[in-house]
Amino acid sequence: MRVPARVFADEKLLSAIRGDRSLEQLANVACLPGIVEASLAMPDIHQGYGFPVGGIAATAPPDGVVSPGGVGYDVNCGVRLLAAPLTADELGEAREHVVHEISRQVPAGSGKGGALALRGPELDRVLADGPRALLGRGIGTEEDVLLTESEGRLEGADPDAVSERARSRGADQLGTMGSGNHFVEVQRVDEVRDPEAAAAYGLREGQVTVLIHSGSRGLGHQVCTDFVKRMDAALGRHGIELPDRQLSCAPLESDDGRAYLGAMAAAANFAWANRHAIAHGVREAIGQALGRGAAEGTCQVYDVAHNVAKLEEHAGRTVCVHRKGATRAFPPGSADVPERYRNVGQPVFIPGSMGTSSWVLAGRAGSMERSFGTVCHGAGRQLSRTGARKRIQGAALRRELEEQGIVVRCPSNRGLAEEAPFAYKEVEKVVSVVERAGLAVPVVRLRPLGVIKG
């Protein structure tokens, strides 16, 4: 290990964390060339592949590396929150109609249509410019773009570094959710903890919100596949030895490193455009169910990435911050936070599990001092997919959720069972650790009204 490994957790969470290989993976990350300060993990850490999910690693030039596995296959998987101009009481029984319309407008993407099919120069524009490239098609607004992390566009995106195979895998998938743990959830603001920040974010008690969780779909998956293979083959040439082959990496300033950063940035821009297109589908659904006024009054709160590598300034030097299942959480005053949120800090969204609450947080100065401006990204799994299926059948879970008043649209009972609430840690405990560590503060709690899964 070149640096220590450090976990943000309390005793109880640490006990759960010790139940899988995540700490071993965290220690492996500490062996990466050029890693600085520590290999860090958030309280939602769980076993991944190579990097643990919930892991953070900052590397510094000239020796520092970039690792595609430290970003993951779903480049810029992330979440976007929309706020509708009505309360849950005002929505009333229409929520089932809204959930149904969203399930029609936002396909999972497995060959069932509904996606934006982009080719050649159109796809190149999305890869280079992100969601801004879709504004001319009447998809989303300029304000949506401004209220997106990095304004939905990573510098240095290189469409030419994205392989034809990646393009063919993702070109027909823009505006689709994907499967696994991706979802669109209709919610209500259940509790306001920080009225000033809530007001700045445009959130009030009882309000209806929509949380979108998706990523770069097959395009990003293939970018990671291509570069893990390329860097694995080049490890000897770069003189790098690793404890795990999936940590394959290349120096930031090498041809391999630069090519990956260009391709990853393009895939990240594609992911922001994907969530932008999904948000458009959500607005269309709200329009169908509740009228144009409700659709036009549905505003974007923010959009954050939780699988990405970014060059950032920390403690007076440029580092490449890998966030693998972790969210940027810049504090009040940061120039990278949109002007309207600059007094209260960057919004961060922490989805819980189906049937439990999610949280909106605001970044705090402690994150810059202790975690390279980063917090957790969710509740964190604690039970395997097969383990979840052994404990409950999808149909039974569907009934349980519906008995709680949650409308469920999910074509796969198997997929539903795998995402059962008990498969995840308690999101309140995770948020509490982040708050006590001074990384972020809770702003509002969100409770599910309906969920659409791929």
């Binding site: 076993q47 999972a108 998956h221 293979k229 082959r245 999936q246 395997s384």
Partner: protein
């Protein structure tokens, strides 16, 4: 024989077979099981030609290619009609049905990747990102 081993976040595939070829055949069956939620349409064939720096990486390529065909062409694997397996290359032809398989497999990873001979035969482990 293949089985899914407990893994908190992803799917860990463990395979035991009499031969190295048997490992690749069982990996095919595992992907078939994952993607076959839909009976699909008429059978089609696809030629395969893959290479990698070593045997374990070739197994990753094989799984990745099957997932890629499922995602880009909606092909659910049904059977292997021909398989020529070298140390670092693979070619042959598979039979598949066109359907709407879930986009489940994001990638086949190199994490704790093994393909090795044992006293009983051959054994492999691959973690899939799902």
């Amino acid at each position: 024989l293949f089985r899914w081993v407990e893994h908190t976040g992803e799917l860990e595939l463990e395979i035991e077979a009499d031969s190295r070829r048997g490992v690749f055949e069982q990996a095919f069956e595992a992907i078939r099981e994952l993607l076959a939620e839909d009976p699909g349409g008429p059978e089609q064939t696809r030629e395969m030609s893959l290479s990698a720096p070593d045997g374990p990486a070739l197994l990753v390529e094989w799984l990745s290619e099957l997932a890629f065909l499922g995602e880009t062409e909606g092909l659910v694997p049904v059977g292997i009609s021909e398989l020529r397996l070298g140390e670092r290359e693979l070619s042959g032809e598979i039979v598949a049905r066109r359907a709407h398989p879930p986009h489940l497999v994001k990638g086949a990873t190199y994490h704790r990747l093994t393909l090795e001979r044992t006293d009983e035969g051959w054994r492999a482990t691959v973690v899939l990102d799902v």
